[in-house]
Subunit: 335 residues, 4 copies
Amino acid sequence: MAIRVGIVGFRGYSGAELIRILSRHPQAEPVLLEHRSDSEPALHPRGWKGPKVAPATPQAVRDEGIAVVFLATPANVSMELAPSMIDAGAKIVDLSGAFRLRTADNHRKWYKEEHTATGWLAKAVYGLPEFYRDKIPAATLVSNPGCYPTAANLAIRPLVASGIADRKAGIVCDAKSGVSGSGRKPSLKSSFCEVTGNFSAYSILDHRHVPEVLMNSGLEEAEFSFTAHLIPADRGILETIYFRAAKPVDAAGVVAAYEKEYAGEPFVRIYDPGKVPDLHAVAHTNFCDIGVKMDTATGRGVVVSVIDNLIKGAAGQAVQNMNLIMGFAETEGLL
Amino acid sequence: MAIRVGIVGFRGYSGAELIRILSRHPQAEPVLLEHRSDSEPALHPRGWKGPKVAPATPQAVRDEGIAVVFLATPANVSMELAPSMIDAGAKIVDLSGAFRLRTADNHRKWYKEEHTATGWLAKAVYGLPEFYRDKIPAATLVSNPGCYPTAANLAIRPLVASGIADRKAGIVCDAKSGVSGSGRKPSLKSSFCEVTGNFSAYSILDHRHVPEVLMNSGLEEAEFSFTAHLIPADRGILETIYFRAAKPVDAAGVVAAYEKEYAGEPFVRIYDPGKVPDLHAVAHTNFCDIGVKMDTATGRGVVVSVIDNLIKGAAGQAVQNMNLIMGFAETEGLL
Amino acid sequence: MAIRVGIVGFRGYSGAELIRILSRHPQAEPVLLEHRSDSEPALHPRGWKGPKVAPATPQAVRDEGIAVVFLATPANVSMELAPSMIDAGAKIVDLSGAFRLRTADNHRKWYKEEHTATGWLAKAVYGLPEFYRDKIPAATLVSNPGCYPTAANLAIRPLVASGIADRKAGIVCDAKSGVSGSGRKPSLKSSFCEVTGNFSAYSILDHRHVPEVLMNSGLEEAEFSFTAHLIPADRGILETIYFRAAKPVDAAGVVAAYEKEYAGEPFVRIYDPGKVPDLHAVAHTNFCDIGVKMDTATGRGVVVSVIDNLIKGAAGQAVQNMNLIMGFAETEGLL
Amino acid sequence: MAIRVGIVGFRGYSGAELIRILSRHPQAEPVLLEHRSDSEPALHPRGWKGPKVAPATPQAVRDEGIAVVFLATPANVSMELAPSMIDAGAKIVDLSGAFRLRTADNHRKWYKEEHTATGWLAKAVYGLPEFYRDKIPAATLVSNPGCYPTAANLAIRPLVASGIADRKAGIVCDAKSGVSGSGRKPSLKSSFCEVTGNFSAYSILDHRHVPEVLMNSGLEEAEFSFTAHLIPADRGILETIYFRAAKPVDAAGVVAAYEKEYAGEPFVRIYDPGKVPDLHAVAHTNFCDIGVKMDTATGRGVVVSVIDNLIKGAAGQAVQNMNLIMGFAETEGLL
């Protein structure tokens, strides 16, 4: 029998993907939970009879018998809703940045706001299954990783942990994302005429996703340079990561380290040495594809890591986390 | 010596094109006139030293010695500013819909708003130079045509006036426009992720540009079916016009009628029979390109008419009108 | 137990969608059949282990025990392969134009080529399930409809059959398609720089898909004007259809006629009166969405019909046909 | 009186920009020179009467009295045509890579081909006016810089020459280009459906434009990591350049170094500290815009450099070079 799962923020791009994935999931039945801050029209076709809609309240969690709530909401809404919905008996998978950092100080530093549910900061589990698969099943609140950090952490941590990359030489992550990463609320920056035919850099060296990479890779801030860019495309993230080898290694050697790290992983694909993925390789999928190129004479290396920001970077990974929480097959609904 | 010209609404897409064209115009020097309703950042590069900026007031018109003011503003702002700036001594080229219709009743019917400067409705000259070149030089207020009607009128009027098209059989105009036609104010409908990979119809049979076509072509509303569509592109209008021949004629015959009508016109180009233009043919230019295809056996005809909505459909035609008002060469600054 | 199905032309866009749909289909296992004319690299990620690949020969049909072969190939390849693969025991769903018309003369007229498998022209069943659901199950060769005619026929036939549209006044179908409709073979016309920011008309009044609409709607060629256009988008078809009402009717009346015609249809959705669909409403789905707007005072009507050209216009409808041939649920693998 | 200038390769994207710029240039009259390898249809509208067309031969150079020939051709065509056209009396501005490197060995290493006009390698002048304005006027053959190196050299050389950047820490240049950079010849990689919604890396660490940056900046290959990427846009290059400060400096300090280096330069614009340009800032212009961001606590710096690859990266810079060769104002035809 299918469990019932709630989706708050279903009018946004990640929310729409949650509806799409969960509508086909054989063990989950979605209920749309409308929050008072919602305003945009829903994404599904006019007149379409979608899942049931209920208010985004603890009462609805109880009345509808909802086991898991996905919060595809701004951080301040997540901070407001998560504790009371947990009290109402739900497990939470939060797609916002509200519970990704460990301390209120760090949250204030990067998000420029006070945290209003600090009690859950230490208890939230960081929902990157490839790294924390052992902790997620027992979690009450899973903090779904940021889109950029998902692609970055999967590519960088093995480089650092294996000693392949020379940390002191620094690692550069030049990240590019489709426009859906900035949400569905209209703004000049995401207007068609400003984006088409354009390409721009933003949050140079101070993106709020940086601490998620530091936490997981063990790098110091001084060792990691990150710049985000806007691609004139609706979805997808590609990160070009530059490193210096700590000792002689060729692309095959780096690939071997990745293959060892991700042996058996259902959603990480490592390319043959010298081959790299593009956005189309992972569009509309929950995969993270990684490829490596080395110049062995000089020890310079480049890794390209790609995901669909709305799937592995948001809704797909959130369902992967739900599968782990509920004891379903990890790939259920995602292949 | 160059005259001084004012641009109100210079932060919008048409305003930016006015700046670009007028900055190169050998006989005009632009002054940017800032209106209190302006809010978006200007389009020119940060730090760029553009033309002088003054407030959009009658006083500034006097102080700056401005001969012509371009109003690239919403209709309600144009209705407010035009009379007082005329009083201050300026000629007006209004790019909004404020002064395109002849009566307050007609304006109310199509624009769903009361007209607040009715005294100028009958005195405004419709600024389509190919039809009204004799009246524009003496005008105090030129109402620049709508973008859709510019492409439609140039293609349709010769068909009707020459008797080639069977009016009673009706004329269909299927119109498509790039997104800049809906302005620069952010909205969900013009957000990148909603537009890219999409195509949509709007204002089916009731677009406010319809009466401009009826006025100029002599068609009755029942004889003219018009639907607007949004192209996932930033600029350009393509209209596909379907008609029935009133008497036997081939494409060469229709082309001959156009060539006769537009002999010597600097900004209308007629294609060889059977050939039709695309948007790229006129991008960033003040041309209207027209092509014809006929099925002579059945008398069905199709005309394709294209313009750049921001140039011949807005800023370029406005400068063409200014050239006529001031007695400059009509093509000055536009080739 | 799943049947085995072959895909010829799997390197093209329709072929890639067939792989995607059939890989998830619970009752079919895809085998890729490589034809000597194939040259482009496959679309799936480098290094991905996809379905088995065998040669596109009758022998492979026998050796692999293939029940149904999908031909996502040019018409001349379909004419060559279909008869011999039928002899080898396979049912055929042909996605090309090879078997859509009824006579060799008609094929020559519209396709400008001789037909080389004329024996199958009369035996092929036109695979539009909404119209021919009774004949498809017994077919040996199903000719999958063209993309434009799928959207056109579903919208137009009820208008004509019900007597709502005045046939003699003519029906205009202004059709727009994404670029994948012209296939994957590189050409200047489908190059990125020629398409982006552009919009163009082609095959004005003489598109080879016209006879498919005449056959199914009962219209005469003189009564039907069709123009195709290229949208700067990868997928999707939107058709804007103009008609004159034969007797007074409002949008609700037209919608009622559609709802009666398509009651119970799993893949046709009719919108509320006055509402019309856009491409995003059906992207990546097998739906055809239809909306209607009427000007009752003058009897002018507009219908908007949309499909995803690669799904309902190609691969999805092909699988729908396979489901009917094999006696599976018609929606299997398609929702 | 205007000089006559020839354009070989006028059917390509750079060639079309040369026509556009030179048609407005008050001191030059373009003649199109058709080479036997030309095959694509011209870019200007069908039926348009463009400049005169002559064969791309030394005889035509003499007959037409051509003073300067622009070669917007593949490297092998440039190597073939340049020497004989020089013999016929023309100065050459070559837009290909044929004469950018100094030795036949270096050319073979990076271009994987033998050089067939080695006599001109040492005599060609590298046409980056901001660096070699003193040598260009006397040149017989100017080798127009590559598009990527133009943006890279203008940004990197001042960083290295001033001692701001720590060379030993390495400099990373993550470069992104619109599709027109790969030319107009159709290929799968530049097909609309493969590019739209996509983003890809190519020529990682081994792009043939690398030696042009090494030559001009003084960096060693081991100190410079370069990766090219394809933006789903038609034109524009944005390069994100990462460096480590050799000594404490803030963004204002780096900006000051650029402003000193480029004081008086008509086509280089430096942004306020912390501000960076995007592609739209330079689209359809001959500007290179540069912005800087620093994290002073750690000494990490990022520079963003943008150009229009078809203008400052090709046709515009070529005309800038022609202006210098002919003693015209350097900005003539380019503002």
